[in-house]
Point group: C2
Chain length 295, copies 2
């Protein structure tokens, strides 16, 4: 069985991060590596274009997973080589889903997300109390505190996978919960796809801090508020407006188009475009965004 190539294709539409899915949101585009593929990445591109009609822009490898061996099962294992891809949505394309539909607790810009985390923390504290030994209970509590930012640690938006794995272990998601048990809100997916999506979210959130990949998700021209909302949507965290602008300005990665955004409320905002030329010519010192990651 050849390894499978699997893509997490991300776009942001109306300030919501979206992921391209198949089969009613249960699967991600994927297909086996074939002899004719010139490289892993070309194989991936072919599969995604074939299955979704969507061409890929920025692509990077994420992680390679193998499923657990089955006793008495086949000798061959399913190996998945996963990729993160960034694009823009096109009107009318089907299969796009909001990524917070799968991970509602990851959206800390919305009050519902924050309330959900409160609920989750209570459930996880119960779970921690059910550990067999006292040391085990303490270890579980510490893990909950770290991944969910308790005890003044603060929410770390990059711990998407760690949080998902914790919820899996605590049997709070349908993938691991016993049949009929209460589970958290949020769509699940087939096989390991939700884990792959979590990996992609974590990588993208980490990456926008130090590489200007956010512009892969922006249209040709945009206002500064639009850019900020996009970053906030990806990070799932609000930001300080003036500081955001100061930072973006000093990066010198965008320039004014000279136009002004149409149909806005309030004072009209200037439009900007990404200076794609500078990408090669300069080292990008740090596109570190004012996404305060607390101590």
């Amino acid at each position: 069985m050849p390894p499978e190539l699997i893509a997490v294709l991300i776009a942001v539409s109306d300030d919501r991060p979206m992921v391209l899915t198949l089969e009613g949101g249960r699967l991600l585009p994927s297909g086996p590596l074939e002899a004719g593929h010139r490289s892993l990445q070309t194989g991936l591109r072919l599969w995604v274009e074939h299955q979704t009609g969507h061409a890929l822009g920025h692509v990077e490898q994420l992680y390679t997973f193998a499923d657990a061996p089955v006793d008495g099962g086949p000798d061959e294992r399913r190996v998945m080589i996963s990729y993160l891809a960034l694009t823009r949505t096109r009107r009318g394309e089907r299969g796009w889903r909001g990524w917070y539909d799968y991970f509602p607790w990851e959206d800390q810009t919305a009050p519902e997300g924050r309330a959900l985390v409160q609920r989750i923390v209570r459930l996880l504290e119960d779970w921690a109390g059910r550990a067999p030994s006292a040391a085990g209970q303490e270890a579980r509590r510490q893990r909950v505190a770290l991944t969910f930012g308790l005890d003044g640690l603060g929410w770390d938006d990059e711990l998407v996978l760690q949080r998902y794995e914790l919820l899996w272990e605590a049997a709070l998601v349908p993938e691991s919960a016993p049949p009929g048990a209460a589970v958290l809100p949020g769509l699940s997916m087939a096989r390991d796809e939700r884990r792959v999506l979590a990996t992609a979210m974590a990588r993208l959130r980490a990456k926008i801090r130090y590489r200007p990949v956010i512009y892969e998700l922006m249209p040709d021209s945009f206002t500064l508020l639009h850019l900020q909302r996009t970053v906030e949507a990806v990070a799932g965290q609000p930001m300080h407006k003036q500081n955001f602008r100061r930072l973006v300005a000093q990066q010198d990665l965008i320039e004014e188009t000279g136009e002004v955004a149409p149909d806005t409320r309030g004072r009209p905002a200037r439009l900007f475009r990404f200076r794609r030329e500078v990408m090669g010519a300069r080292r990008i010192a740090g596109s570190k965004l004012p996404l305060a990651r607390p101590v």
Copy 2:
């Protein structure tokens, strides 16, 4: 053909980063994923222990490579899932090689390394001039400037892979040079192993900036200068001594043992140990080292 698991096992010995090799330094430990392996990582551990007798400590996945398809060759491709592993050398173990034996230009702490880069840059400028079009020449020059830190950009120690790939394209390494042509100093390896090693070096250099992985390479107790020399050896860059100490101190990741280093010249140095307990208990805000990455 199942995917192959391949390990880059790193240790630092006498302030030199070492890599564990087989076959006279031509190969890295590796073996196919088998049905009995519980996971990719267990498979890797089994292979490395079997081939080298060395147990693995900290392990992380690096990247998955596929070799290019051969026209009329077999349908199946070789897929390599590579890992970075960190340990301590043990006296008398065979197969350890200095990683700068393979990449002499990556050691910018030594005058020879800096001189070699000067020579490489001249060769690459010739190569840039041989591009067919004027635009192609300019693109090549810009790439050389970026990867080797010309025009005041400064040396970026994380660009190990980019530099190796550039040298490959310019046919300055034995892997790509025509037979008999002059090539750069530095050992080469079989297959794609040198590329895998470059990937590992880049990852480790990046990682020591924001995670305390350097302590995986240290003995139980060490002086601050020993720690600094280890970081410098990995990064291939010198550091400011007082600032290094200030940073390490404020991280609060190490504590004094109360003892003093034996057989040193100069004023005796206090010994420290890594506080392994804090690893789980605290978020490591930033183990960012004073490795000035220039603008």
